[in-house]
Symmetry: C2
Subunit: 300 residues, 2 copies
């Protein structure tokens, strides 16, 4: 029995930042979200890899307690992403994307996953997201992520999924783009009017804003001096957020604020090293310490 299922990519990433370079390292939205949430809850991962996928990555995910019944192993090569970050690490530059087995992927949830109470639909084609949504029996909370490509090319299909889900997760540029407004507060409120009970706008180094009803929570980002690789920041945020909700089984606006902070904490640790290297080692105590720090940096 899993508390949360994460539907998204499992990738082999090659990443270069001003602080170093890694080749064919473990990555992907479902992986970052699953490992981030595994600190708080029992996680099931839904994704696909090819026959070339290294056994050690599978072993690592199992070691983190991630259930892999939803991980399909297909004929062909695994999804690969290659990119780099410059001086200003807010922007990822893609050098190469090889969809490989991902191009044919249309997730079928294992029977046990259909009763999952918490579900994260990471960025992918909104028609696939809807297809997964329809396979879930009676979720307590479904969270959706997307990206500019789908806003540009499949806005109607995307809108239909947004209308169904409980939490809409987006970054600042996407929120502005979706509603054609520079004002993030207007954009956040406009998403709420489409149906979701909560909207989170991620702002990278500037934190995040959570909209619930007519309330707003403006969360700081952790003041990180040692930013090494931002890859997976958004997905580890998502994993920490939904993991905390699943652990406490409380989706009240007040508890969502705490969940945003836990998401930010996991994301901040993640950015301190390449791939999931830092998430491999953090303990409950590390998370608790940074939670205290968050209370301090936000108090006046």
């Amino acid at each position: 029995m899993t508390d949360v299922i994460m539907v998204g990519t499992v990738a082999l990433d090659s990443v270069k930042t001003p602080f170093g370079e890694v080749e064919e390292t473990l990555g992907g939205s479902a992986v970052y979200a699953s490992v981030a949430a595994s600190t708080f809850a029992r996680v099931g991962l839904v994704g696909v890899v090819g026959r070339d996928f290294p056994e050690r990555h599978i072993a690592f995910l199992r070691e983190k307690g991630v259930d892999l019944d939803g991980l399909e192993i297909a004929d062909g090569d695994s999804f690969r992403w290659k990119g780099y970050y410059e001086y200003d690490m807010n922007q990822a530059h893609t050098l190469d994307t090889r969809l490989n087995v991902l191009s044919q992927f249309n997730p079928k949830l294992p029977k046990a996953y259909r009763d999952a109470r918490y579900v994260f639909l990471a960025n992918t084609d909104p028609e696939i997201q809807m297809n997964v949504y329809d396979q879930i029996n009676n979720p307590k909370l479904v969270m959706l992520d997307t990206m500019n490509f789908w806003i540009e090319n499949k806005k109607d299909a995307l809108s239909r999924v947004i209308e169904k889900v409980d939490v809409m997760l987006t970054n600042d540029a996407e929120a502005r783009q979706f509603f054609g407004t520079p004002n993030l507060i207007k954009a956040g409120r406009a998403f709420l009017e489409m149906g979701p009970k909560a909207v989170i706008i991620k702002k990278g180094e500037h934190g995040a804003i959570l909209f619930t009803g007519d309330q707003c929570f403006v969360a700081p980002a952790y003041p990180l001096e040692n930013l090494v690789d931002p890859t997976g920041a958004g997905d580890s945020f998502a994993g920490g957020f939904i993991g905390w909700l699943a652990k406490t089984d409380d989706v009240s606006p007040r508890n969502m604020r705490k969940a945003v902070v836990f998401g930010s904490i996991v994301a901040s640790y993640n950015a301190e090293d390449f791939s999931l290297n830092k998430l491999k080692t953090i303990t409950h105590e590390d998370i608790f310490n940074r939670y205290m720090m968050f209370q301090d940096i936000a108090s006046f």
Copy 2:
């Protein structure tokens, strides 16, 4: 006797934003800072205008209780700035700058001002800022602002003033530029190492970060749906900040956090209308109400 003196520009601004347009309206760094601070403290303004400066602006400043013994009236025309903001109102575009009487200005503080305990040196040539600094007898707190032009062209002179002052105020782009790093946390700490007891990095719609010793306060911006004209946001922030410190006569890191919030509140009201129109009408109750809102949006 004044609590705070504000040294900067007094301007006639012509501004266009997506929400309207004003011509030759009251503006300038010393004006925004003075009016913002006047809610909290007795303010003296140091600046220069020409003989063409409208009497009604003088009357307005007096009505707000701003002492004008430091306002020089010189032969010639007043300083004028003309600019506009596009869709994304984070960036001001200058159409025309006429220094006029400002080009000859080298402030001489009235005798009574030399004993001021709180001083704000708004953006200008760092050599002039140093000249003013040297005229102050025994200040409790001096705060400095600057801009990219001086970082590019007079970095040494600017550095000498930074080493003297108590609070360094800068925006995110300037902080990055000064130290050649994209990381604001590194830049904030590097400013502290130059001498100031506190550093504030303003991030526009993303709030501000206050650095004191090894502590950091990450302040949200007020979630403003009704942004009309950002002109003067930084200077009204500065005025609210130093005004609160002067009112309470407490420069502890804890009270500086509150001062950042009061600065943000005044700046948020200011941006809701052109020129100082909104600041003309806000009451202590308005400020108190928004303070409560700030506590709510930051709590988890």
